[in-house]
Subunit: 139 residues, 4 copies
């Protein structure tokens, strides 16, 4: 996607590993859109009453991924404790959404696919969090 | 991206052309992230005083693309007048951001690249808007 | 709210009527939060299957109000056509949400209250839009 | 604000103290708008080069407050670990933004006022976090 080129052109890039940041932003964008779509698909299902928790946690996850994706995108004068806390919140949101979607994966294919992207997004947040914590300790 | 699979799995999809919707969502995601990154790169430039309008319009464009991308993602029981108005607002935001970024394209490569994605996103919004208007008149 | 003080302290305020802007931002914030809460209350109702359209349009309205509230908040180097288009989109989203919530007002008090704030927010968007259009023609 | 009435009308409210939730949502809305306005005022100041970190952290804080405000607003089937992590991230964002705004409070009144609302928002997040942690341990 084009945004990756723009991130590479920043005049004062952060020292955090760039590939880990790009992966994390990419998965946050995809996960936010996937959770928005899964919440919307779920609320049109005939068993919507069983999907209340899926809808709620997908909406939460979309919010967390949207905010975290933007925070990771910014490189100017970052605050590493803030970044770490945002990544932890996003990871927790992805986990909650993945676990609930997995409970419905057998009868709703969109939940199965959504659980996968939530797991993938959680992984990239956890990876970038580990790098951020090391960097924080080096400050 | 994974979200496209989830959109295809909606139990009651809208009748609007699916490829046009997927293209529009994809460009909205990329444009929102690109404008967030361009505003951030611009505010770290030494000539930031000349880039106030780029920063402001990129932030506006990121907001418009984010909201419109989510509205287009939802398929349950849509309101076509709302959809058309959101696409018009997004198109206007992309145009304003593109024109301002183009003024700085010669000396800031991130502005040149950002203007391109804004133009591309505007095009997919205009295309989906045309389809939506036809559908609205058929109702 | 505190944000109003900060808006008054901008070093280069826009010429658009400040009270109309403050009213619009205030209603956008309240309407976005109200629609988020009404969508959430609706999806926990036992007749959730009848509320699919309320949920969907409240989520759309929350997105439109959030983006428009931020765009109106910014005063640096605005683009009036973009501002006008955003206000029109927000007004359309508020109208769609208000009309659908009104259909359920008799049996769901949260829908009745939500319809009222959507109507109020639409009014402040329309008022600011009228001012913006006059200003645009004077440019 | 009207959204508070709607939250009180939820058919299955969460057990977490309602006043603490309402205070937190209210401050998140105000802080998100205040930080959006302070970033915008800062980028129009003649000493904008000294305010790069204010702008960046205010944008981050607006994103965190926006997401957390929506997550706290929802009452359907919550995940308390996710809620706690979101409150921690918001608290960290408010702290970073408050500390940086305080460094510029003497010469920019909007930074002084913004630091106050960031501190206030952090306090309501910390209060709700303490309640959430107790509730999590009781589960």
């Amino acid at each position: 996607m084009t945004f990756q080129e723009i991130i590479k052109l920043h005049p004062r890039p952060t020292s955090l590993d760039r590939d880990a940041r790009l992966r994390c932003i990419n998965e946050c964008l995809d996960c936010a859109a996937s959770c928005t779509a899964c919440a919307d698909a779920s609320q049109s299902e005939t068993d919507v009453e069983d999907l209340v928790r899926v809808i709620r946690l997908c909406l939460d996850c979309a919010d967390a991924c949207g905010a975290t994706g933007r925070i990771v995108t910014r490189q100017s004068a970052p605050d590493l404790r803030l970044l770490a806390a945002a990544l932890e919140a996003c990871s927790a949101a992805c986990l909650a959404s993945a676990e609930e979607c997995e409970r419905h994966a057998a009868h709703h294919e969109h939940c199965r696919v959504c659980a996968e992207i939530c797991r993938r997004c959680k992984k990239t947040c956890d990876d970038l969090l580990a790098i951020t914590v090391v960097e924080t300790n080096n400050e």
